[in-house]
């Protein structure tokens, strides 16, 4: 079905490609890039550097303003994804593009369904999917509904979609941002196998360790331009980082020991019967002002439910939550905020921001009714704008103007808008869920510093993350969640290794109840 490729030459290439969006943002500037067939090429760069935009041009979702795109050695005009697909280009988007109520097999074949005379042959769809999964080593359950499977399986479904279209070039835009370490490993194994079968892979990631592990060569973008391409063997995380930001930077976080004071968050006997998802079975813990408590666990073991309960988005079935001595039962979300809670949700696209509203408006939604932004219930547009400009500057949000809708920001910059809003509210308890998901290393470091600052100015921080490195680097104390229960508590994280924590995450080891509740006041006598 594919259109012919040239005899030799690069699998995909860009020649002097520039892209200016309708709103005047020049996202890609005069980029020359060549990727030979059968290579895994990583593309790295800060948030907003133009990586996704460049990839969308290879996939026909955006058209270059000037310059040309080559696929299979020849210049091509890609009017839409359909023409890119016909040329053998497949793309897995940063935000997955699957139909939730369809089965995996249906999603895989969507657009090129097996069957004759306008009919779809569901059996053939399942068989095709199973065969592709078998050949590529990307295990999926063809008959499962997409909204009922793990993120990892959805990701594999996306790749199978491309394979079903006989892709020869596979673009993966931050495929690992939402995967557990094990799922990432499996993905890499499959990607390597595809490469060995002749596939050309373009791989975008902010995790430089992964880039070093998987790629053959790395191309670095900065502010829309390509700054260089180097062999992965010659690259170190540090050298890549300095190419990305244009100066030397250190990747370590300086963290003085915590000086915890009074208990800010007190959770007792917290149970939650989840209609869908993970239930919680009696959690007891404290977080004191001036400390960062990390919550580790494989995703889907109750972290999201816990965060949403604490933020007031769900109501617990039984148990109590106190913030600075105030019982939060019966408070609505605004009440939770008034009680001093700041919340950075993990799903920033759906819960964190109003995508079509401007950056400035998103930055004031929690404080628009108060001076200095409003007086007597009337907003001061000037004050709103000044407030936004200050935060945009402080948090290095890459945008031409505060009036830009959040939807037009790059993935990492959307995240920064939310973090800026939540941290600048100076909460007494900050719940931070996957704060650094999808942000570049500069921003990551910046957010680490902000979290430590928040702690040092007396906030209690509950840090929920799928990234153990991040948890160990930041947490003063660490809790482990498994199947909706606390299974471990480390009051001292110095010398703690990822491997050791991993054993608790997997349920190989477990702390007894005595250790989990030492020093907690008013713990009910409850069987776990």
């Amino acid at each position: 079905m594919n259109e012919p490729w040239g005899e030799d030459g690069p699998a995909v290439a860009a020649r002097q490609v520039t892209k200016t969006y309708a709103n005047g943002v020049r996202a890609v500037r005069a980029v020359d890039l060549e990727v030979p067939p059968g290579e895994i090429r990583a593309v790295v760069g800060e948030n907003g550097a133009g990586k996704s935009t460049l990839m969308k041009m290879f996939y026909g979702l955006e058209q270059p303003s000037t310059g040309e795109i080559l696929v299979g050695g020849r210049p091509r005009v890609l009017r839409g994804p359909a023409s890119a697909i016909a040329l053998g280009v497949g793309m897995v988007h940063q935000n997955l593009m699957l139909v939730p109520s369809f089965t995996i097999a249906q999603n895989v074949v969507l657009g090129v369904e097996p069957g004759r005379r306008g009919l779809v042959d569901p059996k053939a769809a399942v068989e095709t999917t199973a065969r592709l999964a078998e050949e590529s080593g990307l295990t999926v359950d063809p008959k499962a509904r997409v909204d009922e499977v793990s993120v990892g399986m959805r990701q594999r479904t996306e790749i199978l979609k491309a394979l079903h279209r006989q892709a020869r070039v596979l673009i993966l835009d931050e495929p690992t941002a939402v995967l557990t370490p094990q799922e990432s490993e499996d993905l890499f194994a499959a990607v390597r196998r595809l490469r060995d079968g002749g596939m050309t892979v373009l791989f975008i990631s902010h995790k430089l360790r992964e880039v070093r592990e998987i790629s053959d060569q790395v191309s670095v973008m900065r502010a829309g331009a390509l700054v260089g391409t180097i062999a992965t063997a010659d690259a170190t995380e540090r050298s890549l980082a300095s190419m990305m930001v244009g100066r030397d930077m250190s990747l370590d976080v300086d963290r003085t020991p915590a000086r915890p004071t009074d208990t800010t968050l007190r959770v007792r006997g917290l149970r939650y019967e989840a209609p869908t998802g993970q239930s919680l079975h009696g959690l007891d813990f404290d977080v004191a002002a001036g400390e960062i408590v990390g919550v580790a666990g494989i995703e889907g073991n109750g972290q999201s439910e816990l965060a949403e309960i604490l933020a007031g988005l769900r109501r617990p079935t039984t148990g109590t939550v106190h913030i600075d001595g105030t019982d939060t039962a019966g408070l609505d979300v605004a009440g939770h905020r008034r009680a001093g809670i700041g919340y950075v949700p993990e799903d920033r696209l759906h819960n964190g921001a109003a995508l079509d509203a401007s950056i400035a408006d998103n930055l004031v939604v929690d404080r628009h009714e108060r001076p200095p932004l409003a007086r007597h219930g009337v907003l001061h547009p000037g004050a709103v704008r000044a407030h936004a400009e200050q935060l945009i500057d402080q948090y290095a949000i890459r945008t031409p103007d505060p009036s830009v809708p959040v939807r037009a920001l790059s993935g990492g910059n959307m995240q920064k808008v939310i973090v800026a809003r939540e941290l600048s509210a100076q909460p007494s308890l900050l719940i931070a869920s996957q704060v650094t998901r999808g942000v570049d290393i500069g921003a990551m470091r910046f957010m680490y510093e902000r979290l430590v600052d928040a702690r040092d100015t007396g906030a209690a921080v509950l840090l929920i993350s799928a990234d153990l490195t991040e948890l160990l680097a930041l947490s003063d104390r660490l809790l482990v969640l498994k199947d909706g229960r606390l299974v471990a508590r480390f009051d001292d994280t110095t010398g703690l290794t990822e491997k050791r924590v991993g054993l608790y995450m997997l349920g190989v080891e477990e702390h007894d109840r005595g250790r989990l509740t030492t020093g907690l006041e008013n713990v009910g006598e409850e069987a776990p």
Partner: protein, 311 residues
Amino acid sequence: MSSVLDVVLSSAFLAAALRIATPYLLAALGGLVAERAGISNIALEGQMLSAACTGALVAGYSGSVTVGALCGVAVATLLGVLLAALRLELGADAIIAGIGLNLLASGGTAYAVYSLLDDKGGTSGLKSGSLPTVTLPGVENVPVLGDVVSGQNMVTWLAFLAAPFVAWLFYRTRFGFHLRAVGEMPDAAASVGIAVRRVQYTGLALSGALAGLAGVFLSMGYVSFFVRDMTAGRGFIALAAVFLGGMRPWGVFLAALGFGAAEALAVQLGSLDVPPQLVSTIPYAMTLVALALYAWRRKRRGRVVPTAASL
């Protein structure tokens, strides 16, 4: 009370229920197709009304019932396409555009009838005839069944065939597959190269055609003339059936049938000693109760309903 039971179990009642359910079935399935394509067809009511009026007028003037019916369905189809165009080309809100089309249809049909026939009420002065009925040789003589199904209008037969047709379309054909994908996740559909707009236009045209058939039935089957605003909210009740039926063809079929039966009951009760004002509210009251039940069941089934965020 026993007289009510007698009424409900009589074959005359069942036959009436099928006849009365016909426009609900067709319009509801039309609404379903549009809903699943991602554009709510609030204009079902107006499409039915326009088709009813066009059908009666054209049949009356041309002398051909077939031509009248075809023209009626065609007008409703065009209104479906128009709604899609307003939504897709001009970015209008589908609800607002739909309400606009309904008002246009109500005023437009009244105006057309008045200017052609000089009659403010309807086309009863015009002899337009009605669509043929279908008698099944053999079945005709079977007790009860024969009385119920034989002699029904051909559109009633079409209405009952429409449910399996839509189910087949949705779950067996490539078009239906694309339609459902487009309605649920347009970005995902576009990213695999499906022509999203083309699918939506086709879906809305089909939706309009089904509503048109419902309208044609009203003025050329149910009765044989057009009366101003004769749809009487059926398009909206059909829309309720779409949601009540869980947006699935057979669910919608059952819901629409239920509304038809309720109305048939109201009609029959009218002949008994029950205040007619009360009786005529039955279909509408049932719609409300059904929607409330539907919402309650959905909530109970445990879709996470987060407490309202009030920042």
